[in-house]
Point group: C2
Chain length 339, copies 2
Amino acid sequence: MKRPTIADIAREAGVSKGAVSYALNGQPGVSSATRERILAVADRLNFHADSNARALAGAKARVVGLTLQRPPSTLGIEPFFMELISGVELELSRQSYALLLQMAPSRDEELAFYRRWFSEGRVDGVLVCDVRTGDPRIAVLEELGLPAVVIGPPDVSGRLPSAWSDDAQSMVEAVEYLAALGHRRVARVGGIPELAHTAIRTRAFTEVSARLGLAEAVTVPTDYSGESGARATRRLLTQPTRPTAIVYDNDVMAVAGLTVAHELGIAVPAELSIIAWDDSPICRLLHPSLTALTRDIGAYGVHAARMLLAAVAGTPVASDHGTPAHLTPRGSTARLQTP
Amino acid sequence: MKRPTIADIAREAGVSKGAVSYALNGQPGVSSATRERILAVADRLNFHADSNARALAGAKARVVGLTLQRPPSTLGIEPFFMELISGVELELSRQSYALLLQMAPSRDEELAFYRRWFSEGRVDGVLVCDVRTGDPRIAVLEELGLPAVVIGPPDVSGRLPSAWSDDAQSMVEAVEYLAALGHRRVARVGGIPELAHTAIRTRAFTEVSARLGLAEAVTVPTDYSGESGARATRRLLTQPTRPTAIVYDNDVMAVAGLTVAHELGIAVPAELSIIAWDDSPICRLLHPSLTALTRDIGAYGVHAARMLLAAVAGTPVASDHGTPAHLTPRGSTARLQTP
DNA sequence: CCTGGTGTCTGAACCGAGTAAGCGGGCCTC
DNA sequence: GAGGCCCGCTTACTCGGTTCAGACACCAGG
C-alpha cells in the first residue's frame, strides 16, 4: 500500500507543493478557497505527513521521550509509573504527540539515551523522573538545550521547570494524624534514599516528629521493593520497643508490611497503624484497607506533558506545584490502645 | 549545541559524504584504512546519524510501536504489561531500536494509531496485545503490510506471527492439581471474555473439569479489575454450595479474592484454595502467599521483540510457543478438609 | 497612467542521510 | 604495451516535507 505525499495532493488539487504545506499547517499564503480544496483532497486520500520528512525539514518530530531507571521487578508492581504514563499520554495524544519510552538498566545508560535521542533528532523534548540531588542529567540536558521537564521536586531541577507537589506538607499531615490518634513511636519505611523526593520526605518526617515530641522517628531506607519493605518492617517490629505506627513510602511496601505484621501476630490497626504513600486499588482491596496518602498521579502526568509541550513550542514555563497528596483514612489506622 | 552531520565528518576526514555513509553502515566501497579513519572521527565527534534523515532516505526508522487498550486503573496495578515492556525493551535496546508506547482509550482509536503510525512513517513495525477473536487490527495490519507480531494465541493472529504459550496446558495443570488435592467444586474468575486467550482458558477449564468429573465448573467473567474480581468472588462464595477452590485470571483479582474470603470468614487455604494466574511479587508477599501460575513474562517480551525485528528485516518468522506457565504451589492451596 | 502595496501562488533551495552511477588509477592478462 | 577489470572514492540525485524569494494579478492612490 503506497502512502500519499504532499506532491500527490498538489497534483490532485492543481497547486504546488508549497501551497499544500501552507494549507495543511494553517499558515497564511493560500486563499481560504484553495485551502479548503487542499484539505478536502488530503482528507480524501487520508493523508498524514511523514514525520521524518517533517522533522528533517526543521519542524517538530512530535515525539517526547521518557526514561525509567528502576529495576523491572519494582517497576512492575508499582502502579505509579503506569498511571503517570497514562496521564502523560492523555495530554500528548491531545496534541498529536507520541511517547518514546525507554527503560534504562543504569544511570549512565539513561544519560546515554538522552544524548543519543538528542543527536539522532528523535525527540523534541524529554521528561525526567526519579531525580537525585546533583543529578547529572539536569546539567546535560541544560547543556544540550533539549527542552525538558522534571517530574520531581523543583529544588534539584536546576533551570529546568518541574512538576511536583509539596511532599513535606503531606508528610506533616500524615504524622500529625498519627500523633492525634495518640501514637508516640512512629517509624517510616522510606524509599530509595538518593532520590530527591525521598530526602524531602525524610527531612519532613524528622522535623515534624521532633516538633510533636515523638520518640526517635527512625526512617529505614529501602529500594522500594516489597521484599525490602518486608525486611525493614520485620526489623522495626522485632525491636524491644517497637513502633505503633509506620509510614511507608509506597503501596507495595505497605502491603508487605501488613503481611509481616500479620505473620508476627501484631494486629492492624489495634496494635499497629499503617499508612501507605500513594494510594492504589490494592490499598482498597486489602483487609484491613490501607490508609493512604492519595494524589492524582495521572494529573501530574498531564501537567508535566503540557509544560513540556509548551517548552518545546518555545514558551517559557515556570515550575508548578500541584495539589499535594492528602490523607485518605481507612481501616489500617486507629487510635492507639493504651494497655 | 550543534549536532554533527556526516558532512562534518566528511570534511574532517577529508573524504566525501558518500564514503562516510558507506563506512558507517559497514558497506563495501571504502578501504579498511579510510573506514577506520572515518569511524575514528565519527567517534570523536560523538556522531549519531539523524534518525529522521535516515528513515526518510529509505532506511529503517529503528522504532517499533506498541499500543495498550485497557483502562489505566487496571493497567496500573497489573504488573504484566510493565514486565512485558521491560522484556521488549531489553531486546530492542540490544538492537538499537526504540519503543513508541501509546495508550488508546478505545479500540477504534487503537486502530487509528496503527494507521497513523504507518502513514507517518513513524514505526518499522508494531506489537499487538490483547487480541480478540476476529480482531480488526489483524486485517488492517496485513493490508497495510506493516510488519507486526501478535503477543497472544496464534489461532487469532491470521497470517501474522504470534508469540505466546499454551494457556490450555497450564489451565489443565492447575485444575488437575486442585482435583488431586480433593477439590470437586472448582470455580474460575476469568478475565475479559472477549480476549482470545481468555476464551482459550475458559474452554480448557470447562473441558478439564468435565474430564475429571468436577461439578459445574463455572467461569465468572470480569474486566480484570480488583473490584470486579472481589464482586465475582463474593457472588461465588455466598452461593448455597460454594466452591472450595477458585482460579483467578490475574493476580490483582486473586488478591481481591483472598480479601473477600477473609471478610466472609472463610479460611484460606483450609476452606478455600486460591490460584492466581501470573505470578508477581505481591503473590509472594501476602499471607497466605498465593499459589500461582508462573511464567517469564519478560521472556515473552524479549521473544516478541526479536521476532518483530526479524520481520522488519524481512526474514520470514514463524509463530513461537514459549514454555507455558507452570504451577508454583504456595500457601493458598491445600488438601480439602473433609468435614 | 504609473506606482506601490497586498494577497496568492510557484519554483527552488534545503534539511541529513542513503545510494546508483561514474570515473580515475593500479594491476593483471594476453 | 594495450585492453579489461576491479577497487576506492566522488558526484549527483533521491526521500517528503518546510520555507523563502520572487512572479503575477489585482486594487487603490496620486
